[in-house]
């Protein structure tokens, strides 16, 4: 079974994003970039399925500019077998990403696709579900556990009320939630080995997908800043202030 894992390059999750002074977007110059944390979990899951003998090959894919090859190398260093870089500039519209990925699915014919549930830059939470629709596959979003047998996938999902378990027909799309696994760090020897693993580059044009988006970002602004309030000296003082000053209890 071949598994495809789409991964996104994003601002590192430790960095607090800052809006550019001209309101055109978020400052990305000299900002630490990383593999989207949910994509790390996706790569980890795919590798575990390979290690347990359920998968034969793990293909990592990223849509983006030249620099996203760094994140593909990270996926390779974690244990993916090969990588595909789809060169494209604007990847903020998940529909376009899903369309590109759907074309690659036609070509690569994976039996399982594992994506992150959400890119922590756009906070879209769309691509996996869109990809499932475009390929006519079942979807198991926000997964905290997956089990595979021959024709089916059992997935446990984190939902607002608790957990839900579904059985999906393969091929299927899964998106990861935080509790699915704890991703490994790539070891130095594996980082070295990853440099020699195959990385194919293609363009959106090669896949016959137009990159025109119907979504326009008109402006990006900072949210209202919250100011630090006061420190209270005791529980008694806290309760008194909440009753008489804030009037919330």
């Amino acid at each position: 079974m071949k598994i495809m894992v789409p991964v996104k390059r994003v601002v590192d999750h430790h960095v607090k994003a800052r809006v550019k002074a001209d309101g055109s977007g978020v400052e990305l110059d000299n900002v630490k970039m990383a593999l989207n944390p949910f994509c790390e979990i996706a790569v980890e899951q795919a590798i575990r399925l390979k290690e347990s003998g359920e998968a034969t090959e793990v293909v990592a894919v990223s849509v983006g500019d030249q620099k996203c090859q760094e994140q593909l190398r990270t996926a390779l260093a974690m244990g993916a077998d090969k990588a595909i870089h789809v060169e494209a500039d604007n990847v903020s519209d998940s529909l376009l990403v899903a369309k590109l990925l759907a074309k690659l699915v036609e070509r690569e014919k994976p039996r399982l696709l594992i994506l992150g549930k959400q890119a922590i830059d756009s906070d879209n939470n769309q691509t996996g579900q869109m990809l499932a629709a475009l390929t006519g596959m079942a979807q198991g979003t926000f997964a905290s556990d997956i089990q595979i047998d021959a024709e089916q996938l059992t997935v446990t999902r984190e939902i607002d009320g608790g957990l839900q378990t579904l059985r999906l027909t393969l091929p299927a799309v899964v998106t990861t939630d935080l509790r699915l696994n704890e991703p490994r760090y790539a070891s130095l020897p594996n980082i070295m080995k990853a440099k020699r693993k195959p990385l194919e580059k293609i363009t959106a044009g090669d896949l016959g997908v137009s990159l025109e988006s119907k979504l326009k970002v008109l402006a990006v602004e900072s949210p209202p800043e919250r100011q630090a309030g006061i420190k209270v000296g005791s529980v008694g003082e806290l309760v008194h202030k909440l009753k008489t000053e804030a009037k919330v209890i």
Binding site: V11, K16, A17, R18, V19, V26, D93, L95, A98, Q118, I120, D121, D123, N124, Q126, Q129, M130, A132, A133, L134, A138, Q139, T141, F142, S144, E158, I159, D160, G161, G162, L163, Q164, T165, L166, R167, L168, A172, D177, L178, K214, K216, V217, L218, A219, V220, E221, S222, P223, R226, A228, G229, I230, K231, V232, V235, V239, K241, L242, A246, V248
Partner: protein, 310 residues
Amino acid sequence: MTTLVIAEHDNKELKGATLNALAAATKIGADIDLLVMGVDCATVVTAAQNVSGVSRVLVADHGCYGEQLAENVALLVAELGVDYRHVLAPATTHGKNVMPRVAALLDVSQISEIIDVLSVDTFKRPIYAGNAIATVQSDDRVKVITVRCSSFDAVAQADSVSASVVVLPQQHDAGLSVFVSASLAVSDRPELTDAKVVISGGRGLQNGDNFSLIYAVADKLNAAVGASRAAVDAGFVPNDMQVGQTGKIVSPDLYIAVGISGAIQHLAGMKDSKVIVAINNDEEAPIFQIADYGLVADLFTALPELESVL
């Protein structure tokens, strides 16, 4: 020009999140149809008819929609959606699961988690864990949108039935997925996303048993109980209690963070609360930078004391 809103329900009860999504629909300004997909969901339909601002309630009451599986319901919403200008759902896990599938079937982009409606085609939404707010404009013929519930005040429920009911015969069963089981939290406490007061615990609580200290205070305040990701990951409490960028978004009148450091991802889920209290024994904890009232104290003495004076 009409707007279609997807009702959130469990076949018995219309969920409050629907009323927040309807508020966003009201701001868009067109007539509103509310779609109820489920099985044996007559009580939901009656409740839906009573919601102010709804012109028609569309009802698809069929076995194939019983568990509201994305593969099945998306086919119906996409089929209906072509005749609407806007299709909205609350940004619950259900809305997040289904709506992008609908959007792709309609070949349109999706606008996730809007926090404001500026015009029929222009919306505001948070990005980067709420550290930036984007104003986005859509040229798509149908705008598929999820609504951040905490940003829109619920529309009212009227006493008398006003909306008419349209029964839909379509039964779409994609045959791709089957419901196996659910394990849902049962609690008499207020819902995290509706509560006026929320008290959350973090890694500082050390284990699940110690959350009883949080629950004791919650009982006094009629508060909902939340948690940080660290507390959920460590197994202290279940996943549905996670507040944050990738959990639930809350904006109560009072939010009390106990033993929570204040990571960007946690703040994203609670920084629109009216009043924030932080209890933490590390005076450098980042949570104090956004707290209205900070108490530097050991939670194991502060929580019992708080319970006793309330």
